[in-house]
C-alpha cells in the first residue's frame, strides 16, 4: 500500500487554488490508484490533475467504457476513480448499477452543471441529487458525499475512498462547477494528514465466497485472478457464490443486503455541519456551494439580531436520520439549492412537504445570501 504523501508544509501555506486540485490530491493520498478519464466540462481540471497525480491514468473512449474499465480494474484490486458531469454520468449509470451489484469499490466524481440535457456546460447547478437517489433499479442507496467548501474537498474525497473500500461499493462525490473551477485563497497548512485506505483481503481457511457478508454486512474482498480461491462476480441476482439464482431466497437476501450494508454503515460516513442558535425557530438548509451563501446569510441575519440555525448536509445518500430529527425541531425550514424544483426538499419531505417549509431556488446563477435572507425574513 502506498504511503501517504505528506503536505509539504504544516505552517501557514496560503495559495490560490481550485477545488479540483484538492479533490484529486486527496483521492490519490487516500489510495485511489487508477484515474480513468473521459473529458467533460466542468470536470476538465479534475481530468488534468488526475493525469498528473494518480499513479495510473488512462483515457477512455467514452463514459460507458470508462466505467467498465474501472469495474475491471476494481475487480483486480485497484481503486479506480473518474470525473464527469451529467451527460457523461447518464451514460455511466447502468455500469454503476453493475458495480453496485458486483460490489466493486470505486469513486465517481459528478461535477454538476446546468441542464436539462446538454444545457450550459460552463454554468453551475445542483440538479443531479434526485437522480442519485433513484439511479439504482429498486432504489438502492449508493453513498453520496458532497463537499461544501475546500476543506470538505480534502476530507470528503478521502472519506469517499475509504467508504468505497470499506463498503465494497461505488461512491459518488457530488460537486459542482463553482467548487471545481473557481479559485480561492486557501491555507494548505490547515489540511489534516490523510491515510490511505487499507485493503483487507480474505485470508480464511474455507473456500472463498465472494458474497458471504462479514459482521458489517460487507463481504471480504479477493481480486479476480488470485491464485488461492475462485472469485465469481456477477451483475445478475445471485447468492453467496456469485452465480445467478433468479429469485431464490438466498439471492434475494443478498440483494436486500446491498441496501442493508449501506444503511448499517451509514454512521461511518455521515458528515454534516449543524450550527444551531438557541431560541431559533428557523433553520436554513443548504448543500454544495450554496452552503457558502447560506453561511454568509446566517451570519448577516444574526448580526442583525435574527435568530436562525444552519444545517449543511454533506452525506446526501442515504439521508442520515439525524437530518430529519434536527429539522423536526424547527417551525420553519428554508432549503436553498441551485435548481428549479427543490431536489433536497423533495427527498426530505416529499411532494406533501410540511408546514413552514420554504424553498429558495435559482437556475443559471448561484443562490445568493440575499435570496436566503429574503426568504427567512418573509416567513
Amino acid at each position: 500500500m502506498r504511503r501517504p504523501n505528506r503536505t509539504p508544509e504544516r505552517a501557514e501555506h496560503r495559495c490560490l487554488i481550485d477545488g479540483s486540485r484538492l479533490i484529486v490530491e486527496s483521492l490519490a493520498r487516500s489510495g485511489a490508484d487508477v484515474f480513468v478519464g473521459y473529458p467533460i466540462t466542468p470536470a476538465n481540471l479534475i481530468y488534468a490533475y488526475g493525469f498528473k497525480r494518480v499513479p495510473v491514468a488512462i483515457a477512455a473512449p467514452d463514459e460507458i467504457t470508462a466505467l467498465q474499465w474501472m469495474a475491471g480494474f476494481s475487480a483486480c484490486g485497484r481503486i479506480p476513480i473518474t470525473a464527469t458531469s451529467f451527460p457523461g454520468f447518464a451514460l455511466m449509470i447502468e455500469s454503476i448499477g453493475m458495480a453496485h451489484m458486483m460490489e466493486l469499490p470505486m469513486v465517481v466524481i459528478l461535477a454538476q452543471r446546468l441542464g436539462p440535457a446538454t444545457g450550459s456546460a460552463t454554468a453551475g447547478a445542483q440538479g443531479d441529487l434526485l437522480l442519485l437517489h433513484g439511479m439504482i433499479s429498486g432504489g438502492y442507496a449508493v453513498p453520496v458525499l458532497c463537499p461544501a467548501d475546500f476543506t470538505d474537498c480534502w476530507e470528503l474525497s478521502s472519506l469517499a475512498v475509504h467508504t468505497a473500500v470499506r463498503l465494497r461499493s461505488p461512491v459518488v462525490l457530488l460537486t459542482s462547477r463553482e467548487t471545481v473551477m473557481t479559485q480561492r485563497d486557501f491555507d494548505l497548512g490547515r489540511l489534516p494528514d490523510l491515510t490511505a485506505a487499507e485493503r483487507v483481503l480474505y485470508s480464511g481457511p474455507d473456500p472463498y465466497e465472494p458474497y458471504t457478508p462479514e459482521e458489517n454486512l460487507v463481504p471480504a474482498f479477493l481480486p479476480v485472478g488470485n491464485d488461492r480461491h475462485q472469485v465469481r462476480l456477477t451483475a445478475s441476482t445471485h447468492g453467496r457464490r456469485g452465480v445467478h439464482e433468479s429469485v431464490a431466497a438466498e439471492a434475494l437476501a443478498n440483494t436486500a443486503r446491498l441496501q442493508g450494508k449501506v444503511i448499517a454503515n451509514l454512521p461511518e460516513f455521515t458528515k454534516f455541519e449543524l450550527d444551531e442558535q438557541d431560541g431559533s425557530e428557523t433553520i436554513v438548509v443548504a448543500w454544495d456551494v450554496t452552503a457558502l451563501a447560506a453561511r454568509q446569510a446566517v451570519a448577516r441575519l444574526r448580526s442583525r439580531g435574527r435568530r436562525v440555525s444552519l444545517l449543511v448536509p454533506k452525506t446526501l445518500s442515504p439521508i442520515p436520520p439525524i437530518y430529519t430529527e434536527v429539522l423536526a425541531r424547527y417551525a420553519r425550514v428554508v432549503i436553498a439549492e441551485e435548481n428549479l424544483t427543490g431536489q433536497l426538499r423533495l427527498i426530505l419531505f416529499g411532494c406533501a412537504g410540511r408546514p413552514g417549509l420554504v424553498g429558495v431556488n435559482a437556475i443559471g446563477r448561484m443562490v445568493s445570501p440575499g435570496d436566503i435572507i429574503t426568504a427567512v425574513k418573509e416567513q
Partner: protein, 425 residues
C-alpha cells in the same frame, strides 16, 4: 467427467445449440495450454452463452449486455501476463459493444474474445442482430434480413487486432482457440452457429456452411504485426499537487471592504493569467481573494473575462452581483459586459481609450492601456491601474507576483508603473 475447467453439471443449452460445443472446445483448449483454472478469468456477456459462468471452475465475471469486452479490458490491463482473460459474447452483444471491440483491438488488450455468432438474439425470441447476414430469417423478420451483417473479424482486424479468425462451430476447433489464447494481445474467434430454436426452424433448407458462404464471410485468419499488449503501468510516486509556492503575506492592503472586479478582454490576451496574478497579489497583501474565468468553449477566440472578489474578511459567496470595478481592455470584453455596465448605478469603469463610449451611471475612465502594455499586457496593466487608483494593495505586490509562476520572464509591467507603490506589511 468435465476436466479441470468445468463442473460436472449438464450444460444449460438447448439441444443442438452450438454454444455447448464452444464451451467444450474452450475447456479443451485450456487443458492443452496447461494453465490452472485460477490463472483464467472468464468474462461473459448477456445472452444464452452468458449463463455458462456457473459451470466454469475459473474465475468468472458476468456483466452487462454488450459490455463484457470493456469490462474484460480493465481486468486484462490490471492482471499480470501470466493470467488468461477470456471473453464470451454473442453476435448481438458484439454489435452493441462494437466500439468496445474496436477499442480493445486498437489498444491491444491481452484477451481472447470468443463470439458465439448464432446470427440472432436467442434469449429474447430470435430478433436479428447487426451481424445477422442478409436474407437470414428469424421469427421477427420472416422475410429475411434486408441488409448485410457486420463482418466482425474485418472490423477488429482493421482496428489492429493481433488475430481474428472465423470458424464453423462444428467438431473440434480447440486448436483455433489455443492459437488465439497464445497470441500476445487481442485475439478474436468468431464461432458461426445456427440457433437450434429459432435459426434452424426459420431457415430449414440452408446449412450453416451455406449461410456463411452466401454471406461471403471469410474463414481466412486475419493477422496484424504482433505488438506489446497493453497493461497499466504505475508511474510511481508523483509530485504532490499541493507542492506549490506559498504566497507570503508581505504587503499591506488598503482595502477595507469586500469588492468585486470584472475584467473583460479577449482570448489569447492573458486575461485569465492576469486575473490569477492579481488575486495572488491581493493574497500577498493579506486579502482574501476569489477568481473565476468565463470564456466560450472555443477558448482561442472571442471574449475572455474574469470575475475577481477581494475582501479583508474570508469570502464565502463568490459571485459579483453588482460590480464595484470594471476593467475593459478589448472590444470582446466590452461587448460581453455591455449589459452589466449599462445597469451599473455606481462604481468605476476603466477602459481602453479606443473602445466605444458606454452608457452607464458608473464613473468611466478612458486610458491608454493597450498601446503601452501591448495586447498581452493590457489586462494586467489595467488591473494594476485599478489597484493603484483605488488603493486596493500596493502595485509592487502585482509586479512581484507577475515575476513568479506562469508570467515569469514573459511579462513585466513594472516599467509602466514607473514607481510601483510599495508598502510592506
Amino acid at each position: 467427467m468435465s476436466g479441470r475447467f468445468l463442473t460436472d453439471s449438464p450444460l444449460p443449452f438447448c439441444g443442438g445449440c452450438g454454444h455447448g460445443l464452444v464451451v467444450r472446445n474452450t475447456a479443451k483448449a485450456l487443458e492443452r495450454l496447461g494453465v490452472s483454472p485460477l490463472d483464467v478469468v472468464l468474462v461473459t456477456d448477456i445472452g444464452c452463452h452468458g449463463i455458462i459462468d456457473g459451470h466454469f471452475l475459473t474465475h468468472t465475471v458476468h456483466g452487462l449486455h454488450g459490455r463484457a469486452v470493456a469490462l474484460a479490458a480493465g481486468i486484462a490491463a490490471g492482471l499480470p501476463e501470466t493470467k488468461t482473460v477470456l471473453v464470451y459474447v454473442g453476435d448481438g452483444g458484439a454489435v452493441i459493444g462494437l466500439q468496445h471491440l474496436v477499442e480493445a483491438a486498437h489498444h491491444n488488450f491481452d484477451m481472447t474474445v470468443i463470439v458465439h455468432s448464432n446470427m440472432l438474439y436467442g434469449m429474447t425470441g430470435g430478433q436479428p442482430s447487426g451481424a445477422t447476414p442478409c436474407g437470414y430469417r428469424t421469427p421477427s423478420c420472416p422475410a429475411g434480413k434486408a441488409e448485410p451483417g457486420y463482418d466482425l473479424c474485418q472490423r477488429v482486424h482493421s482496428a489492429g487486432a493481433a488475430s481474428a479468425r472465423r470458424v464453423i462451430g462444428k467438431g473440434d476447433f480447440s486448436d483455433v482457440i489455443v492459437e488465439a489464447m497464445t497470441t500476445p494481445g487481442f485475439a478474436m474467434v468468431e464461432v458461426m452457429e445456427h440457433c437450434s430454436s429459432y435459426g434452424v426452424k426459420h431457415n430449414p433448407e440452408r446449412s450453416l456452411e451455406a449461410i456463411v458462404r452466401d454471406a461471403e464471410l471469410s474463414m481466412e485468419p486475419l493477422r496484424n504485426p504482433v505488438t506489446k499488449p497493453f497493461r497499466i503501468e504505475s508511474r510511481g510516486e508523483a509530485l504532490s499537487l499541493l507542492a506549490i509556492d506559498p504566497i507570503d503575506r508581505r504587503f499591506r492592503a488598503g482595502l477595507d471592504r469586500r469588492i468585486s472586479i470584472l475584467l473583460g478582454g479577449s482570448a489569447g490576451e492573458g486575461v485569465q493569467v492576469a486575473a490569477e496574478t492579481f488575486a495572488r497579489a491581493a493574497i500577498a497583501a493579506g486579502l482574501s481573494a476569489t477568481k473565476k474565468g468565463i470564456y466560450p468553449v472555443t477558448v482561442g477566440v472571442g471574449y475572455s473575462v474574469a470575475e475577481i472578489i477581494l475582501s479583508p474578511e474570508p469570502i464565502l459567496y463568490a459571485a459579483a452581483i453588482t460590480p464595484d470595478l470594471v476593467a475593459l481592455t478589448s472590444l470582446d470584453g466590452f461587448k460581453y459586459y455591455q449589459r452589466v455596465i449599462t445597469e451599473m448605478r455606481s462604481g468605476h469603469i476603466l477602459m481602453d481609450e479606443e473602445l466605444p463610449g458606454p452608457v452607464t451611471n458608473a464613473t468611466v475612465t478612458r486610458a491608454d492601456i493597450r498601446r503601452p502594455a501591448g495586447k498581452r499586457g493590457a489586462a494586467l496593466y489595467a488591473l494594476a491601474l485599478l489597484a493603484r487608483q483605488h488603493r486596493l494593495f500596493p502595485t509592487a505586490a502585482l509586479v512581484e507576483e507577475s515575476a513568479r509562476g506562469r508570467l515569469a520572464g514573459k511579462l513585466d509591467i513594472s516599467h509602466l508603473l514607473s514607481q510601483p507603490d510599495k508598502e510592506d506589511a
